[in-house]
Subunit: 156 residues, 2 copies
DNA sequence: ATTGAAATCAGTGATCC
DNA sequence: GGATCACTGATTTCAAT
């Protein structure tokens, strides 16, 4: 489904649900002056069409044992290595985000680790073997993190 | 609250809620053999203590008008500029993530934009004025994205 | 998209380990 | 302190329109 199939109701639903996945459907219904069943059907459609990817509980990483956050850039010496790098990254559960990029790096990933020692161990033992070069950016403070803004103008 | 206050029930709740923020409390209760009220109380405590940061609906960025995703690294020429950069980044709703980092960059941010032209406009007009140098990594494919793993061993 | 109805759920307070 | 039970009001979900 592409974005031109949006209407104002879909937009309002996404806007309300974006930062509160547990907002009751009936509450959305009251604020939009439609029935609860209509909201229910819309959300089902938004989910089955892939616009809503899922409902996630945001958990504080340090509280569950992840004191270190880092980004790793890969500079590959061989274009055929892309898939190999991705496979390795997928196999590491602490890798939460992975992109193919243009610019300084070919592949770019975000990773959590228990501490700096654990991070370095993962990089040395699992990521830096015959695929080229890596560069690591260690975060010493997550200044902020928020969802993408849902803007009406983007959808007309 | 620090992590040593966790017990197995908290862990199971976080594990179940992590990838499904709308999972009914009573369903969690049945799967853990405790009452719904106990789950309710636990989730309140996890939320008020900051371990659960919130419940977010994950929305497909291209579906809502964000075709371009990029990372921007800032190399500052003056340490007092940290706060200025953060203020500028906060003022741009499309910036979803911002870190202080060690390594190639001082500040590192993730941004969504309508398209490449829009991205470059934001970088030129709002980010690159007298704060040092920036480098941009444009993602041409998000290979995967997932939540941090909730592992029992991390919490004992 | 709505109605209406059944099943299920969230949240509260008294009570009991 | 933390879980349970019992209960009320709210919510989800479905079929029919």
């Amino acid at each position: 489904m592409s974005r031109q199939h949006f209407d104002t109701l879909d937009f309002k639903i996404l806007e309300m649900l974006s930062n509160n996945a547990r907002k009751p459907f009936l509450e959305i219904a009251r604020e939009t002056n439609v029935s609860g069943a209509a909201i229910h059907q819309r959300i089902q459609k938004l989910t089955s069409s892939g616009i809503i990817r899922g409902f996630e509980t945001i958990i504080d990483p340090p509280s569950v044992g992840y004191e270190t956050c880092a980004y790793i850039g890969f500079i590959l010496n061989d274009p055929t290595k892309f898939d190999e790098v991705v496979e390795r990254l997928k196999a590491i559960p602490e890798v939460v985000d992975c992109h193919f990029t243009t610019g300084s790096y070919d592949v770019f990933a975000k990773i959590f680790a228990h501490n700096n020692a654990h991070l370095l161990e993962v990089i040395h033992k699992k990521l830096r073997l015959g695929i080229g070069r890596t560069e690591t950016l260690i975060s010493f403070k997550e200044v902020f993190k928020r969802p993408i803004p849902i803007l009406h103008e983007n959808m007309e």
